[in-house]
């Protein structure tokens, strides 16, 4: 069985994110990129599957930020091959573009399962997996928390999460794209000595992609959450409160 894990790096919010002088994008100098959390879970689920059934796990990552560490970490966890996708883009493109890039990379390759994180901090509506499945003309299941193989490698049984603590078990005909919500266990720990060992000999393949089409949606303004003024509490008799409210309204020129 062949499993592809598609990942991207996202800004590390612990280190803080600043907006650049155009007010339309994140300042690339302020960012450190880390592997998107649910992509990390997708990798873990792939490695768990490999431990249960003979499989080959290949991870493909976009080239935003420092990716080599992440790819070496994947090899240390059990990936068989890691590929860095050269896009030449400085910042993360939109999900439509990411999906097109992933689809073009997978063109002509044969995978039974294509796993990716169901969402990322820049993709809270979780559209990437569905878009990719659309471009590849494959079935898609999102919010997956468990994957088991059935009937050789022609079918998978997946657990999908629903709101309110509900879950459903679905049969999916393979090949298919799965958006992983969480692996069956938290992503495993790789001791740093093991990681450093892998780094010495790791072979990271690179794959060029053709320049993606221009984005069809443009960012007009990017801004941090605006802090509110806080609340003003009124006290006194109803008459006093009423006159305070009227006073405030006229002070703010909301009434004449």
């Amino acid at each position: 069985m062949n499993i592809a894990v598609l990942t991207k790096q996202v800004p590390d919010l612990v280190e803080g994110v600043e907006i650049d002088s155009t007010g339309k994008a994140v300042d690339p100098d302020s960012i450190r990129y880390i592997l998107s959390e649910s992509d990390d879970h997708a990798l873990e689920e792939a490695v768990l599957l490999k431990e249960r059934t003979p499989a080959r796990v290949e991870m493909f990552s976009l080239d935003t930020g420092e990716v080599r560490d992440t790819l070496c970490m994947a090899l240390a966890k059990g990936a068989d091959r890691v590929v860095l996708i050269r896009t030449g883009l400085e910042t993360l493109p939109s999900n439509h573009t990411v999906a097109k890039i992933f689809a073009s990379v997978l063109q002509g390759l044969s995978f039974d399962l294509i796993l990716t994180g169901v969402r990322a901090i820049d993709d809270l509506d979780g559209s990437l997996g569905g878009l990719l499945a659309g471009y590849l003309n494959l079935p898609y299941v999102g919010l997956v928390r468990k994957v088991e193989m059935a009937d050789g490698t022609s079918m998978a049984i997946v657990q999908k999460e629903y709101p309110g603590g509900y879950a459903a078990e679905l049969e999916v005909k393979l090949p298919a794209v799965l958006g992983i919500q969480a692996a069956e266990q938290p992503p495993r720990y790789v001791p740093v000595s093991r990681l450093r060992q892998v780094m010495k000999t790791a072979k990271v393949e690179e794959k060029e992609t053709t320049a993606p089409e221009p984005e069809t949606v443009a960012v007009e303004r990017m801004f941090k959450p605006e802090e509110g003024m806080g609340a003003t509490m009124f006290s006194g008799t109803p008459e006093e409160i009423a006159s305070q409210i009227v006073g405030l309204f006229s002070e703010r020129r909301l009434v004449r």
């Binding site: 612990v14 880390i34 720990y189 001791p191």
Partner: protein, 401 residues
């Protein structure tokens, strides 16, 4: 009975039990007297207490020991190592090796510990806070706290603040007070600020050898950029590691814990201790200032110098002091340990403190205020006992708190 020398780290990490392979001959000198198991405050809860674990390992029963709860219950109080007649490095050698073996085999480790290790790898502190924020506390210290990279000149004293005193709220308050004390004494000092990273004591004892080596390499590189006469440290764990382990990897410094540094300046400090505290105080010897580095007297000298202080001792003090239960990364294993141990060490220690009749439990380790205050509540001593760092007591008497 002296503190045994810590053995050097092996050159290259092997696949399984690298330390034991090189230390096996040494461990063959174990006479199976059982002093370690009898002294171990966690021995009762371990599947295999230290004596038995050593015996099993020498018989080649590695897997049984590695898969038991034994590796993760050692709090590195060091009592076994200090008392061992064969001077075997049980808490510093055997236990980190067992933990390293668990990790090398790819076995799952406790999630809280994993998070702390991952954070330390990414951000240089177990809390997972941006290193840029390391000197935030200094902004409200009320006195100048120079940062080495901005100072551009040699200093007398480089103060390595370490993780808890940089990031934890209570630790930050204590750091501010220490900055004021240093300022009042006219000490020419500076901190590393955003360049500072964890020194790696917890990581080493947790068996994360590679992470420890990575931190050491970085810290030695940073320290080599600056000129200073000596280093002072707020965290005894890091102090012990910088003093005793860094030299094996090329980092040799003149380093002291803050309590020793201040005790040396007692003549200068005494006239500043104006306010009478009228308190009966008992002092908790932390493992790293006590058994591991033998600073038993300086903290007591400082406390006795405060007007109105009556110092009383707990039943277990100095060499036989009872650990708070937070060493060797077990500060991140509280949940794991609580499921396996009936009486937590911090609770037992606080009961000892309460039994002295003291109303203040004085500490000199940044792990203690939170651990003991929690224990004070759990044991129902909330109205009877308060936990205070020696720095807080000094600052109060100096009227700069």
């Amino acid at each position: 009975m002296g503190v045994a020398q810590v053995p050097p780290l092996p050159e290259t990490p092997g696949p399984l039990f690298p330390e034991l392979a090189s230390a096996e001959e040494k461990f063959r000198q174990c006479i199976q007297c059982g002093v370690c198991s009898g002294s171990c405050p966690m021995g009762e809860a371990m599947d295999f207490a230290p004596r038995r674990a050593v015996k099993m390992l020498l018989e080649g029963r590695f897997n049984e020991v590695v898969e038991s709860n034994t590796p993760w219950l050692c709090v590195s109080c060091h009592t076994c190592a200090v008392r061992c007649p064969s001077q075997l490095q049980i808490s510093d050698g055997l236990f980190p090796a067992l933990r390293a073996a668990v990790m090398a085999e790819g076995k799952a480790i406790d999630q809280d510990l994993q998070k702390a290790l991952q954070n330390t790898y990414l951000y240089g502190n177990p809390m997972g806070i941006s290193p840029k924020k390391r000197a935030e506390w200094a902004k409200t210290a009320g006195v100048p706290v120079p940062i080495m990279s901005q100072l551009r000149r040699p200093v007398d004293v480089l103060w390595i603040v370490e993780c808890n005193p940089s990031f934890e709220p209570r630790g930050q308050e204590i750091s501010k007070l220490l900055a004021r004390i240093l300022n009042a004494l006219g000490v020419d000092f500076a901190i590393l600020g955003p360049e500072e990273r964890c020194l790696g004591d917890c990581e080493w004892l947790a068996g994360e050898r590679g992470l420890f080596e990575m931190l050491i390499e970085r810290n030695i590189e940073i320290l080599s950029k600056y000129k200073f006469r000596e280093i002072i440290m707020t965290d005894p764990h890091s102090y012990r590691t910088l003093l005793k382990i860094y030299p094996f990897l090329g980092g040799r410094y003149h380093v002291q814990p803050v309590v020793a540094f201040l005790a040396q300046r007692l003549d200068q400090l005494k006239p500043l201790l104006k306010k009478k505290l009228n308190a009966t105080i008992t002092y908790h010897d932390s493992c790293c200032l006590g058994r591991k580095t033998s600073h038993y007297e300086e903290p007591r000298m400082l406390l006795r110098a405060i007007p109105g202080v009556k110092l009383v001792e707990m039943v277990q003090n100095r060499e036989s002091s009872l650990c708070c239960g937070g060493g060797a990364s077990t500060i991140y294993l509280d949940r794991y340990i609580q499921e396996r141990v009936k009486d937590r060490l911090a609770d037992r220690r606080v009961m000892q403190a309460a039994a002295t009749g003291a109303e203040t439990l004085a500490v000199a380790c940044p792990f203690e205020p939170a651990r003991f205050e929690d224990a004070v509540k759990v044991t129902g001593n909330e109205q009877k006992l308060i936990v205070r760092d020696i720095i807080e007591l000094l600052a109060e008497s100096m009227e700069i708190a």
